[in-house]
């Protein structure tokens, strides 16, 4: 169990994320097929397979920020679609913002806030637009609150995972205003956003990694 984000934890997080994406690939694709183009699962799978390989090439003492940055640039280079640049920029920006050799909860929350800002700058989506931002924002907010309240990284990660999951579920009744689902207009209502769903997986992966 880690109290700060170090190399080990960052590696465990990203590997858990890759495993979750692999496991949930079909579900993500099905969600995307309903209101998008049916490739979100295979997109992220391709991306995180490459991330796992890229991380293996990094030195064992690489700081966590370097791992996140590497993951981000790899996603940008391998995924394509909307989620590639968005997740890629999020991780790259977060990674660059993290201190070395380790990041405490406050630094992690700040880094991920920077990552979220990058996503919003690139994609122009606000909370309620039915995108990954709807899961990302509450998760980062939960980390920030937990840091302020003095929670442990492990407790904070669990809260963030819960918040992301709730945010993803909350996209169901929304009408999409960004991404492909927005083309459907009112017909996008009643479906959970695939990107918000994968964001929830990524925060659950962090919680799982801190819990080990």
């Amino acid at each position: 169990m880690s109290f700060t984000l170090d190399h080990q934890l960052a590696l465990a997080w990203l590997r858990a994320a890759a495993a979750a994406v692999e496991r949930e690939q079909q579900r993500l694709t099905d969600l995307d097929a309903a209101i998008g183009d049916g490739d979100h699962g295979s997109n992220l799978r391709r991306g995180f397979t490459a991330v796992t390989e890229a991380l293996a090439a990094l030195p064992a003492d690489a700081p966590p920020g370097e791992l996140l940055t590497k993951a981000g640039t790899t996603l940008i280079s391998k995924v394509g679609g909307a989620s590639g640049p968005l997740y890629g920029s999020a991780l790259r920006t977060a990674g660059r913002a993290l201190p070395a050799p380790t990041a405490d909860l406050t630094a992690l929350a700040e880094g991920l806030r920077a990552g979220l800002t990058a996503v919003q700058k690139l994609g122009g989506a606000a909370v309620g637009d039915k995108t990954m931002v709807d899961a990302f924002e509450p998760a980062v907010a939960a980390l920030e609150r937990a840091a302020f309240d003095g929670f442990s990284l492990r407790e904070a990660a669990a809260l963030a995972a819960e918040a992301a999951q709730a945010g993803a579920r909350a996209t169901v009744p929304l009408e999409a205003r960004k991404g492909r689902a927005s083309y459907l207009g009112p017909r996008s209502v009643g479906h959970q956003d695939p990107g918000a769903t994968s964001t929830a997986l990524l925060f659950q992966a962090l919680a799982d990694a801190t819990g080990r």
Binding site: T29, D30, A33, I35, G36, D37, G38, D39, G41, S42, N43, R46, I76, S77, K78, V79, G80, G81, A82, S83, G84, P85, L86, L122, G123, R177, K178, G179, R180, S182, Y183, L184, G185, R187
Partner: protein, 331 residues
Amino acid sequence: MKKLINTPETVLDDTLTGFAAAHPELTVDREARVIHRADAPRAGKVALVSGGGSGHEPLHAGFVGPGMLDAACPGEIFTSPVPDQMLAAVKAVHGGAGVVFVVKNYTGDVLNFELAAELAADEGIEVRTVLVDDDVAVKDSTWTAGRRGTGATVVVEKVAGALAERGADAAAVASVGQRANAASRSFAVALTAATVPAAGRPGFELPADEIEVGVGIHGEPGRRRERLRPAHELVAEVVATVLAEHTLSAGDEVIALVNGLGATPLHELYLVYGEVAAQLAEHGITIARNLVGNYVTSLDMAGFSLTLTKADAELLELWDAPARTPALRIG
């Protein structure tokens, strides 16, 4: 799912292998996933580069060649390509006169081409972008992702390609592309859904007598579902929808594209074209040039899209300029 493929994972690579074998007159860099003219880079010529998700063939690789694109970057099926591809394309075809990207307006394409333009700028190569957004099924608004890019892409690549071939500068090439896009509106109707190989089943289920109206080219459902009606009535609705978002009036000339979505027999496209021509004539609008066939497809989707580009002397002249590409030969 019934497809002539090996595995869903290798569709793009295997398709590129076949495309390379079929078109030795082009250079296919399978590693970088870039198709470009064999004579690139051409010193002093503006390089026109496009790309997007695969599954829309012949777009874009089929439009690489003299008079149209210098390079194309195919992404995975329905997935925008990655910035590394565009950067490799830029490096392969940049002839010192700048680069113009033709980008269909989808979040993924826009973001990836944007990142690529930044990477190119880092290497000192200036890139301009023509954003194609002709699909009137999507309301244009700053609060949304905006109109999608569909059939007008062919028109934009044709006229911008012709101007680039003549040695115009990057600003002029981008500007005529933007003008062609602004003069274009499209609308599509699907009779069946497309099946993404990795998904393994159709994007939506459509009863035997219903169609999706206002579909895009990524297998997504459209704006609404309707009963299939005789071609005459269906075309009337499509023409009316396009005209409502257009600035055409009696006496105007257009370039008209009746485009198959991938699984539509050619005779049906001709039949639709006949209805389009007759109905536009009733509005006093003349079709000055046309294309009837599969140009911007959506895998195995049956249906068609109509694109009308308001024509003027310059656009027609550029349209008629020679093009020598796998999928379009003019002049």
